[in-house]
């Protein structure tokens, strides 16, 4: 099966082409579109399972060569090859699995959209790109997927392109990603120049011998890679695109901006773990940035009203955890959180989608133009959407870190790892502290979200209320599956003390992948015994505290409608406005660059200096000289004769010199 892993890539690709064709030719053949769109994912998932079953028995990676992509020289010959190992298999499963569920959900969610076929074309294309990303055997091949998912993200964020804001959001996402990609490219150049290879396996093999541990080179390369990760995974300073990305259809947010694409950065760090292991400084940076992002995003999430925005900041925050995890060098913990997060965050988004779907329909019926995503318009949905409520509750508990839900284990492991590193390196202790604070806030804003959405009374207008209803089964079905996974997902990597045989499953599973990097780092002594219990207990307390607080504070006072709320001020305003980061970027970077381009480069340098002065000036000088010449030609014979005589004198002088 491993040899046929390309089928998993090819099918979604063909699906994308087929659906794309249908989008032009038969935009209303929705049955066919869904069959293709979901069908290819199903087959891909089967392939993924098949691969998984094989890889289970095999520690070493297998490279599947498709064709020679860039056979330039002996030194630079890049093959289009896939690397099937335990890491890619995990992601293969997550992507096709969660992806399949989201496809299914979309069938219901997008049912009435005019761009149905186009939507599935993009979605299939995304899956193909994402699979290329995780399967790529070398940096350039992964880079195809890396940029490809960015493209799909761009297309899907701007799916409803006729609204300017959506297109803007898509563009913003792509450009922020591209800033990161610059880092990845530069990292590739440095790697190739120094190692003569871009193949992941060969990098891992050669790097320790060539790049001295802790050297500027190692730090440089890894920081550049990490720059790419901050773009793709929405970390400080490039996180600004992700909240805006919520402009896309909600299943897209679930798939791309929660479960899969945004976690690609984490994946990449793990893939190039050896390099990071050689650069302890970078690891510190990664951890700190991760923790800071987790903290700051969480603070912003506290004060958002758009249900998807809350989830978006939550995603940024959770991604921060993942980086904190990989930043400690415990790569498996990062992947662990990646997987569980995929489950519960997809669930949350799809749940939110279901809510928005319901709200939208209700509003549509009464021809209201209120914001279907604003939580202040919701409330009391528990009654009409019991399934959604239950499942989202599970996800909330999971993300808040309440045992025994999936998030508890993964988040705890990250914090434990950070704490453990903190014993020798205070930076990690700071990170740990930020992480704990973020956990508290996570629980708080999730409780707030749940309370505002599902509890209390419906605030969206009496007219709309009767039209609210639970989503169809095609949508809740996937939710149920994800709900189950969110509950039991933690089981793939239970902490050691819970049992010998089944514990640390993912850690051991990924060992062949992470071992070379781990060997280069000081061993991570995870807290055990009393400390471990204390940490676990603390985490539980934090989670419960946060949830309670969130519930209490939210329910304490009536929630004003969007238009009627008193203006925010002070810290709340700051949080609500996301620290004015967008405004800051606009003022510090975007507008100056525009000004520079328009005024200085174009109008002054290009149009004036080069074109008018240098080019036009030469022409003008010539013309003026010509004019002067024709003035001299004054028509007076006397003057002509004088010129003649002067010329004669000049010639004779020259000769007699």
């Amino acid at each position: 099966m491993t040899q046929f892993v390309w089928v998993a890539v090819l099918l979604p690709l063909l699906g994308a082409i087929a659906n794309g064709w249908l989008a032009f030719r038969r935009p209303n053949a929705k049955g066919l579109v869904s069959a293709i769109g979901v069908g290819v994912l199903l087959v891909a998932f089967v392939v993924a399972v098949g691969v998984f079953l094989e890889v289970r028995h095999r520690a070493e990676a297998v490279t599947v060569l498709l064709w020679h992509w860039m056979p330039v020289t002996q030194r630079l010959s890049i093959d289009l090859a896939f690397r099937v190992d335990r890491l890619s298999t995990v992601l293969l499963l997550v992507i096709t699995g969660v992806g399949g569920l989201i496809h299914l959900f979309s069938v219901g969610y997008m049912k009435s959209d005019a761009g149905y076929a186009r939507y599935f074309a993009y979605l299939n294309l995304f899956i193909a790109c994402m699979l290329i990303l995780v399967l790529g055997a070398s940096l350039p091949v992964s880079f195809i997927g890396w940029e490809g998912v960015g493209l799909c993200s761009y297309l899907l964020i701007g799916f409803w392109f006729e609204i300017d804001a959506n297109s803007d959001a898509g563009k913003k996402a792509f450009i922020a990603n591209r800033i990161g990609d610059f880092g990845v490219l530069m990292a590739m150049f440095l790697l190739w120049t120094n190692l003569g290879t871009l193949d992941f396996a060969e990098i891992a093999q050669r790097a320790p011998a060539v790049i001295p541990a802790g050297s500027t080179l190692a730090v440089g390369i890894t920081l550049l890679i990490f720059l790419g990760c901050t773009g793709k995974s929405a970390q400080i300073p490039l996180f600004v695109w992700l909240p805006d990305a919520m402009a896309g259809p909600t299943p897209v947010s679930a798939l791309i901006h929660a479960a899969t694409m945004v976690t690609a950065g984490v994946f990449l760090v793990v893939r190039t773990g050896v390099l990071f292991a050689l650069a302890p400084v970078t690891l510190e940076v990664v951890a700190l940035i991760g923790a800071l992002t987790a903290f700051f995003a969480a603070t912003i999430g506290l004060r958002q009203y758009d249900i998807k925005k809350v989830l978006a900041y939550s995603t940024i925050s959770q991604l921060g955890y993942m980086f904190l995890g990989v930043g400690t060098g415990a790569f498996a913990t990062g992947i662990f959180h990646l997987v569980t997060h995929a489950f519960f965050k997809a669930l949350l988004f799809l749940g939110a989608g279901s809510v928005i779907h319901a709200m939208h329909h209700a509003y549509h019926h009464v021809h209201a133009h209120d914001d279907a995503q604003d939580m202040r318009n919701m409330g009391g949905l528990r009654a009409v959407m019991p399934w959604t409520f239950t499942l989202m509750l599970i996800a909330t508990l999971a993300i808040a870190g309440v045992p025994p839900f999936a998030g508890f284990f993964s988040k705890d492991e990250i914090l434990a790892a950070a704490f453990a590193r903190g014993a020798t390196n205070p930076v990690y202790l700071v990170a740990w502290g930020l992480g704990v604070a973020a956990a508290l806030m996570t629980a708080y804003y999730m409780a707030r979200l749940m309370a505002m959405t599902f509890l209390g009374k419906f605030r969206g207008g009496a007219g709309a209320e009767p039209h609210l209803h639970e989503a169809p089964w095609i949508m809740t079905g996937p939710l149920v599956v994800l709900g189950v996974l969110s509950v039991i997902g933690g089981a793939i990597n239970l902490p050691a003390f819970l049992g010998e045989g089944s514990a640390e499953g993912l850690d051991r599973w990924l060992e062949p992948v992470t071992a070379p990097a781990q060997a280069l780092m000081p061993a991570l002594v995870m807290p055990h015994g009393g400390t471990e219990v204390m940490l676990l207990g603390g985490a539980i307390v934090v989670a419960l505290l946060g949830l309670t607080l969130g519930l209490r504070v939210t329910m304490a006072s009536p929630i004003p409608l969007p238009g009627q709320a008193a203006p925010e001020h002070g810290l709340w305003l700051l949080l609500n406005r996301k620290y004015y980061i967008d405004e800051l970027y606009a003022a510090v970077i975007i507008r100056p660059v525009h000004w520079l381009s328009r005024r200085v480069l174009w109008q002054i340098i290009d149009a004036f200096l080069v074109d008018r002065m240098a080019v036009g000036g030469t022409a003008r000088i010539a013309t003026s000289l010509g004019w002067l010449g024709s003035r001299v030609q004054n028509g007076q014979i006397a003057f002509y004769v004088v010129m003649f005589a002067a010329g004669a004198v000049l010639i004779l002088r020259t000769l007699l010199r």
């Binding site: 003035r631 030609q633 004054n634 028509g635 007076q636 014979i637 006397a638 004769v641 004088v642 005589a645």
Partner: protein
Amino acid sequence: MFLGPSLALSAVLFALGVVGVLIQRNAIVVFMCVELMLNAVNLTFVALSQLHGISGQIMVFFVMTVAAAEAAVGLAIILAIFRHTKSVDLTQINLLKG
């Protein structure tokens, strides 16, 4: 015999002719100055004939013939312009310029 003085004299005459062309404003006078230049050269030829034989003197005849033809054509041209401008002042003749 008198080679040096003759050459010097012809040079002076030639220079006078040139200066005349340069400073005179009347077309006919200018033309006369040109004739003076030609005749100065004739003097040179004749003077040089002492040194190099008869050929210089032969040249003088050709020059005189040519000068005569030139005079005929030249005066006709001056007449033609006079018909248009009613003047032979060269400063007035500057229709063509630029």
